[in-house]
């Protein structure tokens, strides 16, 4: 069957031989409109791949997705024995039928192909992120040794003592030296010195030529990094000498190669610490931003990117605070990052949510100067201002602990959507400067205010339906299937927000102090408020949305259309990715149901 497209994922993972077998086993099925192809809960003897027409995925009476040409269904029915939803032909539809036993045989033989059939959303996503990771690795290993940021060579004479050598290492802040001894050149490392003194008990006056080694393994500055890596493996060394025209230039260390791969993120904190001005910090801020894209291109997992980025951003903001806050505020104030920054889930900067809590009164003039100075400095670093004005510039978000607790109380009493949203944002706060304990005091006060207030919790939970559109993207899908317009999904509204806010609701209920959604989920599982398996699915789904969001953010950045940063065009992603997205949306639906049944927010 030549018509079957084997470049369409996941079939692109098959070898030539395997795809030939697959094609040979294909039949074609025809389905009339409204014909149920796979009923919910039933197994299926075939994997269906749509040739033409469209198939509605229905959960009870809701249409959750519409599948079109090249989409396949349903891996759950095929491998796990029960379809999660009804699959119904929406028009005259033709599908390839891949027999179950053929799919199972391929799953056993081909791990990359098998990944498509994982039950677990996050595992599936990982498996498909792996491919990009390989590309990233590739480009790194094809770099030249000269591209690595290596340290310049430092030479000492073979006659100097171990003690002098040690001082020399410290002075140059380097851990390996070249040792000139008549015609020979050797290498000595800090470890050589320690072993000589500690294990062999040599006196520290011993000449260094006695403890260095002369069988230097070297790599040319023009060589590929992978050649260096091979030499390291072959000789079991973590360090190679770099030569150029037979001159020693420096050392290539395994950590340098790692740095090339991970984008030298370990250097950014140093740059932040050494910064003397806001301009210096602006350079570091740009580095952080550039790193997000590089890590993403290299296939680093989204949770790792988010963690690294928020760690660096917190350092950055702490430094801005040090530079702009008058001494009185530095002493009494605790800078808070809230919202997605507080949860450590922001990658591309979309806004700033920050606040200041003071544990004693400060001169009014200092506070006014700080409010403006800090916000201005952040704007200078490229942080867009918060559209909801949730920034230290706003007096509501920069006040003393006591008055802030009174503020919380008034929000609780008001109980309207805006007040609830403020509470939600505050719940995500992390302290980036001392004294941290005032934040914990404020949060405990808030938990007490909310404790046992079922009606209040229900109102809080009801925000989950702020963007509730039960048939997400379906209208669009139908429009697209008749060619009426591109199909888009708002990742924030359809995915991230319901998960984040639902988890936040549970966290406030159980007085959980963690701020990141993933660690809140773990804490909720530990507290018995969530099933462990569902907790894993929820984290997986969150990462799916974060991953796709980052992708569309980077795309929007390149196109200069930031307003569309949360929109994902469904025609721009592969069928496997659409399938993963579909799984993630199913998890969100389940979670909304759980929150609704637990807090009954519909009553308001």
């Amino acid at each position: 069957m030549q018509g079957f497209d084997i470049t369409n994922p996941p079939f692109d993972r098959l070898s030539y031989q395997e795809s030939a077998e697959l094609r040979a086993g294909l039949d074609i099925g025809y389905y009339a409109p409204e014909e149920v192809i796979i009923p919910q809960g039933s197994p299926s003897d075939w994997l269906h791949v749509v040739i033409k027409g469209s198939v509605e995925v229905r959960d009870r009476s809701t249409v959750t997705t519409v599948l079109g040409p090249k989409d396949s269904f349903d891996s759950r029915a095929l491998v796990h024995g029960a379809a999660g939803e009804d699959f119904v032909a929406a028009e005259e539809t033709l599908c390839y039928l891949v027999p179950r036993r053929n799919v199972l045989a391929l799953i056993h033989r081909n791990a990359a192909f098998a990944a498509f059939f994982y039950a677990d959303v996050s595992r599936k996503l990982d498996a498909f992120a792996q491919q990009r990771k390989a590309e990233g690795m590739d480009s790194v290993l094809r770099a030249r040794v000269g591209d690595v940021r290596y340290r310049a060579a430092v030479f000492v004479e073979g006659g100097i003592s171990i003690e002098q050598t040690g001082h020399c290492m410290r002075d140059h802040d380097i851990n390996a030296l070249f040792v000139r001894d008549r015609q020979r050149v050797g290498v000595v490392t800090g470890m050589n010195l320690s072993k000589a003194v500690v294990l062999r008990r040599l006196p520290i006056e011993t000449p260094v030529r006695e403890v260095c080694h002369f069988d230097v393994i070297s790599v040319d500055v023009e060589d590929f990094v992978f050649e260096g890596l091979l030499l390291m493996t072959k000789h079991n060394k973590r360090r190679l000498a770099i030569t150029s025209n037979d001159q020693y230039m420096g050392f290539l260390e395994d950590i340098d190669i790692l740095g090339l791969f991970a984008g030298n993120s370990q250097l950014i904190p140093g740059r932040i610490d050494r910064a003397r001005s806001i301009d210096d910090l602006a350079a570091a801020a740009r580095d952080i931003e550039a790193q997000v894209e590089r890590l993403h291109r290299q296939g680093v997992k989204i949770d790792v990117i988010a963690e690294m980025t928020s760690d660096l951003n917190r350092r950055l903001l702490a430094r801005v605070f040090e530079m702009t806050a008058p001494p009185t505020i530095q002493e009494a104030g605790c800078l808070l990052l809230m919202g997605s920054e507080g949860r450590g889930e922001q990658t591309v900067r979309t806004d700033q949510d920050n606040a200041l809590l003071l544990d004693k009164d400060v001169p009014a003039l200092d506070l006014i100067r700080f409010r403006d100075g800090f916000s201005e400095a952040l704007a200078g670093l490229g942080f867009p201002p918060c559209p909801g004005n949730i920034m230290v510039r706003n007096p509501v978000w920069s006040q003393s602990l006591d008055s802030f607790i009174r503020q919380l109380k008034s929000w609780v009493l008001r109980g309207d959507a805006e007040a609830m949203m403020n509470i939600a944002i505050f719940l995500d706060a992390v302290a980036v400067t001392n004294p941290i304990d005032i934040l914990i005091r404020a949060k405990r006060a808030m938990f007490e205010l909310m404790w046992g207030e079922a009606a209040l919790l229900a109102r809080f939970a009801s925000l989950i339906d702020t963007f509730a559109t039960p048939n997400l993207g379906v209208l669009g899908t139908i429009m697209a299937s008749v060619g009426a317009g591109p199909d888009e999904i708002d990742l924030k509204r359809a995915g991230t927000f319901p998960i984040v806010h639902g988890v936040r609701t549970l966290a406030i209920d159980k007085a959980i102090l963690e701020t990141s959604t993933a660690s809140r989920i773990e804490a909720l599982v530990k507290a018995g408020a969530l099933e462990p398996s569902f907790g894993r699915e929820l984290i997986g789904a969150l990462h799916v949305f974060m991953e796709f969001r980052l992708r569309s953010q980077l795309y929007a950045l390149h196109k200069g259309e930031l307003e569309s940063e949360a929109l994902l065009r469904l025609d721009g992603i592969s069928t496997v990715e659409r399938d993963i997205l579909r799984d993630a949306l199913r998890v969100v639906r389940q979670f909304r149901d759980l929150i609704r049944s637990r807090y009954n927010p519909g009553g308001f």
Binding site: M1, Q2, G3, D5, T7, N8, A24, G25, L26, D27, I28, G29, Y30, Y31, A32, I51, K52, G53, P69, K70, E92, L94, L97
Partner: protein
């Protein structure tokens, strides 16, 4: 009526009784889609050089069990025919003689109805060989897809309506992707797809709109 009489005659005078199965009705819900590639359009002088038959079992097209064969012709291929089906002398040289292929093909078809696009032409082409080897004509019922299409689209149309029964137009009208025409298997496959959809539409009493835009090709990779 005429065909029934004719079939009775052939059945009685059948040269080779091993082929009696052609006259037995096939399984109720099965039909066979047939397509031949030929050296030209004249059944009297042109020859069959490739044949494909695909079975349809209820609403499943059994492509995994399709029958295909390339046939070595008795005469040299003309350049005009090569342009149509892209089978060169070298390709058909690897083919097998018709007297080997035909029994296999007939066994595959059995007594099932034969579905095709201008099916009469394909059957007439085969009949030449069938007559030569077993002294009968194919008795199978024939189903013409363009006829079903005509009925659903142009049945009761006002006089003067321009008819378009081209293979391409039917494909496009039904939204079936073009897998590449003039390959016996692909042609049989696309005809099978047309047939299952047209048969279902006829059963449900759905008509094909005459104003319906024809450019509705579904995307499909080659």
């Amino acid at each position: 009526m005429r065909r029934q009489l004719r079939n009775l005659f052939y059945r009685a005078t059948l040269g080779d009784h091993a082929y009696r199965f052609l006259f037995e009705p096939g399984p109720m819900d099965e039909v066979v889609v047939l397509d031949c590639e030929t050296t030209g359009l004249n059944p009297r002088i042109d020859e069959v050089i490739a044949v494909a038959a695909v079975m349809i079992r209820s609403s499943r097209i059994m492509t995994s069990e399709a029958y295909t064969a390339i046939i070595k012709p008795d005469r040299v291929l003309t350049p005009t025919s090569i342009k149509v089906h892209r089978l060169r002398a070298r390709d058909v040289a690897e083919g097998r003689p018709m007297h080997e292929v035909l029994p296999e093909l007939l066994r595959f078809i059995g007594g099932r109805p034969i579905v095709g696009y201008y099916v009469d032409f394909d059957v007439r082409m085969l009949d030449r060989y069938v007559l030569r080897y077993i002294e009968a004509k194919l008795p199978n019922r024939r189903i013409e897809v363009s006829e079903i299409y005509y009925a659903l689209k142009y049945g009761g149309a006002p006089p003067g309506t321009v008819l378009d029964l081209r293979f391409q137009s039917i494909l496009a009208d039904l939204g079936i992707p073009n897998f590449g025409q003039h390959d016996a298997f692909n042609d049989a496959l696309m005809t099978a797809m047309m047939y299952v959809q047209l048969r279902d539409m006829r059963q449900r009493g759905v008509r094909i709109g005459r104003e319906r835009a024809v450019q509705q090709e579904a995307p499909i990779g080659a």
